[in-house]
């Protein structure tokens, strides 16, 4: 499936590249910046974005892993009650500690 799906994408790009007109000009190929000349030099240079995005990314990583831990527990849950419940409760409680911390730190506040 993956092969087919990617194949379709590649095919489309190639076909278009073969069939489409090619009349590039400097202005046309300039990065969009509301009509001004772009300031920075392209990929990976000089662009600074709010550090906030990193924070969200880190949070995601941490919480996503936590979800990953929860899935096996959920699948096996009914075979392990009530032990699994206490286990889950402990887990969630610990999770909430971190959650409380990031809330208080204002990581999810976007000002």
């Amino acid at each position: 499936m993956l092969v087919i799906a990617l194949g379709i994408g590649v095919l489309a790009v190639i076909v278009s590249a073969l069939l489409g007109p090619k009349k590039a000009s400097r202005t046309k190929l300039m990065a969009y910046e509301s009509g001004n000349d772009p300031e920075h030099g392209g990929v990976g240079t000089g662009h600074r974005f709010p550090v906030h995005f990193y924070l969200v990314a880190m949070l995601f990583i941490v919480f996503d892993i936590e979800t990953a831990f929860f899935f096996p527990l959920a699948v096996a849950y009914q075979k392990l009650v009530p032990f699994a419940f206490w286990e889950a409760l402990t887990f969630v409680a610990l999770l909430l500690v971190g959650y409380y911390y990031i809330l208080k730190k204002g990581v999810v506040e976007w000002t």
């Binding site: 550090v51 990193y54 990314a57 880190m58 990583i61 941490v62 892993i65 831990f69």
Partner: protein
């Protein structure tokens, strides 16, 4: 099913690539990525072994290692970003305030 040895060989290869990356790369991010590669090599080996022993402990270990990798990403990125914002470089050779 391919024998365990193939998986282990593959994981060894990944590990070696990661190791070489750690030793030769000079930007923090690349070193860090190499480390992640090494961790995944370990994961592959663990899964392969767990399968060949028919034992669940190895699989559990993989879970733990994944978590560790994630936590390392979180912390490592934080440190790298902090440094990058201050000096606009993550090349470890440029970090020479403390003599090697």
């Amino acid at each position: 099913m391919a024998p365990t040895a193939y998986y282990v060989a593959l994981s060894g290869l990944l590990f070696a690539i990661g190791m070489i990356g750690v030793l030769t790369r000079r930007t923090a991010i690349m070193i860090f990525l190499s480390v992640e590669l090494m961790l995944n090599a370990a994961n592959l080996a663990l899964v392969a072994f767990a399968r060949s022993w028919g034992d669940l402990a190895g699989q559990t270990a993989v879970f733990i290692v994944m978590t560790l990798a994630a936590a390392e990403v979180a912390i490592g990125l934080a440190i790298i970003v902090a440094i990058f914002r201050k000096r606009e470089t993550t090349n470890v050779d440029d970090l020479a305030t403390l003599k090697g």
